[in-house]
């Protein structure tokens, strides 16, 4: 009898051990919805990677790795053929096929947030249940990058009407919808419960297709903690196992703590200031723009305000991107800046206004403040106003100030995207230059970017995009500051390093907790 009891206990013990680990995680925000197509944001994409698998996904070194597509090949300039994995189940139990991919792409084109990314895509062609041709309307170099946004949804699950009689596939931003509150994907986790803004519980999907994944997390409890110090405190007090992002000023403390594991990685969000040439005629003068750039000690900002958790930038795209030019020299030189101001005829300087957000980028407000004092040294007296992001973008669009801060992370993870939004001549019809509040406009640069957008030859494309960065550098088109680092911190037993990446999508399905 005793023996039996022992075995029973041992069995129970083993069973619980095999169930895996619970990961308590605190992020700065939780996903806005459970419908992956309702909003394009970092939080939503992180969620989507947990509950839905993409066709292919980025690896750490900016390559692609197969997920639901086991391989893919370009068969002509307009077509890429994707071969899909067989035997993949959705959370609902339905089987994944090419029809789900086609259905998902159709829905993406209806989504207000995603349709812009998929404008060059035509209707895909289903070859058989596990083969699909993705077709573009013109030669398009970024099909693979865009395929990382195709997270097939369970088309059967989302078809029909719910108990309120509303269509299940409706994409609704501000009201109830079936898809906002229910999900079925092929991802490693499914949502067990969700209380928006308070807590979200994910459970591991038992029938997950990727049996090779070493991930052993069976449950994730996500708590959004917006306040930086509180988030750090939660990790230090063992309230949670994993936090992101880590504020720069706390890196030292977390990094030196031997019970914790801190990982940082150069990111691709570039922080810049735009000098409005229309609003402030002084900035139309190349010499003045060069002086401004020479006056801004962006390496100093990185070293001091960012505590080294950023990379000083001279261009838009970071290393690893197609347009990155390795030999662009740093330009900070205060004496030269004063000299340039003199040559431009502004020896006594002038007054200007600046706006910056105070809750959008890491240390945004402090950075703006530092730049104000740097510019004062060459006689440009700047009056600064900072505001929360909810109010900022309207003011930004209205161009209420002469110098405006903007950070940019390309959704496509591609060099051309920066210039399209930040540097091309503003054009209401094409939508180019949508965030170009500097009103910098150079036809040559526009031409090069447009060429790059239809160039499928990698080498030629790199040459085009590098030329773009050089022109912007020579024209002193904007003031580049730095690329923000991404950062994560966790308990020692959480093996973070292998699952994090420059896109800031931790692949928690593969996370190993000891």
């Amino acid at each position: 009898m005793k023996k039996l009891l022992f075995f029973a206990l041992a069995f129970v013990f083993l069973a619980t051990a095999a169930q895996g680990k619970t990961l308590k995680m605190a992020l700065d925000a939780d996903p806005e919805s459970m419908d992956p197509h309702v909003q394009l944001s970092g939080g939503m994409l992180q969620y989507t990677h947990l509950c839905f698998d993409p066709l292919i996904r980025w690896t750490k070194d900016m390559k692609f790795e197969p997920r639901l597509a086991s391989k893919w090949e370009r068969i002509d300039p307009l077509t890429v053929r994707f071969y899909l994995r067989e035997g993949v189940k959705f959370h609902s139990g339905n089987t994944f096929t090419a029809a789900d991919v086609a259905w998902t792409m159709d829905r993406l084109k209806k989504s207000e947030d995603f349709k812009g990314l998929f404008t060059s895509f035509a209707e895909p062609k289903i070859i058989d249940d596990y083969t699909i041709d993705i077709i573009t309307t013109e030669p398009y170099p970024l099909v693979e990058a865009m395929a990382t946004y195709i997270f097939p949804l369970d088309s059967k699950f989302y078809t029909g009407a719910d108990d309120k009689g509303l269509p299940k596939d409706a994409i609704v931003k501000t009201d109830y919808s079936f898809a906002n509150q229910n999900q079925s994907g092929t991802g490693p986790f499914y949502v067990e419960s969700r209380e928006q803004g308070v807590k979200m519980v994910y459970k591991r999907f038992a029938d997950y297709w990727d049996k090779d994944s070493k991930g052993n997390v069976s449950e994730i409890i996500l708590t959004p903690i917006k306040e930086n110090a509180t988030r750090t405190a939660a990790l230090l007090s063992s309230g949670v196992d994993f936090i992101a992002p880590v504020p720069p000023q706390d890196m030292d403390r977390l990094g030196t703590n031997k019970d914790l594991n801190l990982v940082t990685m150069a990111g691709s969000r570039v922080i810049t200031f735009q000098l409005n040439q229309k609003r402030k005629p002084e900035f139309a003068d190349l010499k003045v723009r060069q002086a401004v750039i020479a006056a801004v000690d962006n390496a100093g900002i990185v070293a001091k305000l960012m505590k080294g958790t950023a990379t000083a930038a001279q261009q838009q795209a970071p290393e690893g991107f197609d347009g990155y030019v390795a030999d662009l020299a740093p330009r900070f030189d205060l004496e030269k800046a004063k000299q340039l101001m003199k040559e431009a005829g502004y020896e006594n300087g002038f007054e200007a206004t600046m706006i910056a957000p105070n809750n959008r980028y890491v240390n945004d407000e402090k950075i703006a403040e530092a730049v104000v004092s740097m510019l004062s040294k060459i006689g440009i007296k700047v009056s600064l106003k900072t505001m929360p992001k909810a109010q900022y973008w309207d003011e930004f669009d209205a161009q209420v100030a002469d110098i405006q801060m903007i950070g940019w992370h390309p959704d496509t993870e591609d060099s051309a995207n920066y210039s399209e939004y930040l540097l091309m001549c503003p054009n209401k019809d094409t939508g180019k230059g949508q965030y170009n509040s500097g009103n910098y406009c150079n036809a040559k640069l526009d031409e090069l970017v447009n060429q790059a957008n239809v160039e499928t030859d990698k080498a030629k494309r790199i040459a085009l995009l590098q030329e773009v960065e050089r022109i912007a550098y020579d024209d002193a088109a904007y003031v580049p500051l730095h690329w923000q680092n991404l950062s994560w911190a966790a308990k020692k037993n959480v093996d973070l390093e292998p699952v994090v990446n420059i896109m800031d999508f931790p692949y928690l399905g593969d996370l190993v907790v000891e």
Partner: protein
Amino acid sequence: MFAFIVRRVLQAIIVMLIISFIGFALKQNVGDPVRELTGVSVSAAERESIREKLGLNDPFLIQYGRFLKGAVLEGNIGQSFFYKKPAMEVILSKAPATIELVLCCSFLIVVLSIPMGIYSAIYPKRLLSRLIMGLSTIGVSVPIFLIAILLIYIFAIELNWLPSYGRGETVNVWGWESGLLTLDGLRHLILPTTALTALMLPLFVRLIRSEMMEVLQTEYVKFAWAKGLPRVRIWFVHAFKNTLLPVITVGGVQIGTMIAFTILTETVFQWGGLGFLFLEAVERADTSLLVAYLIFVGIIFVVVNTVVDIIYGLVNPMVRITGRK
């Protein structure tokens, strides 16, 4: 009394109308909700069409008219953009967290401020009195987020005794998510309550002390001494009862303020209540939620102040409730 209540209800409705009107007028200044609902790369035209769809482009009076119609006919005071739910539902789901916090805090204030205030009034020169007054001054002058973060630092990080964020485990009692009934919930309550109490307590200690000192000098207290009544009876029955009027007044306003604006405490402790909700609504430009919230808070103030007015009459028979004929 009945006429008095009817009058107050009417006034409350007018207050709500005024608040909602001003709220709508302010809406534009908080920011653009559509911006918060879309990714950065979404085109301006696309955003415009969403704005059009949500009716945000209509003239102010038309939007307000639509709101009034919804409020009167369906009892719907707006839809939270971020929560994708009726705003009232969101507010009611967050209210218990704040109300529990404020109740615990008020309890502590009552329990602590009365003895502290009375003691320092009776023996103003004693060391303990000076200590109470000194500490209460420090309490009022240290910013709440500093107190909060120090509490977290000491009790959560260094000593690891108490949790640093959130409400912990809650139990649903007839739709009320309560953290008072579980050990975990109570443990989570300790730090935020302490921080908030430290901020609010000094005012009450000081108020009770100064009122009490005044009352102790009045004729009827002296008369009571002369009559040879026991000290405790004089202090607590004769004197203390007469200090209550201003204490209740200030208390009423402060409790209303606490319910509404525990913003900083709730933010630091990630306490999912109304203050937190308010700040988030401002930051996300969730304007409909904001207007609903303002109306809700307006009701709280009218109710609290009405209750205070009624209590005046009970405590001090010399005060006639205005409007009660």
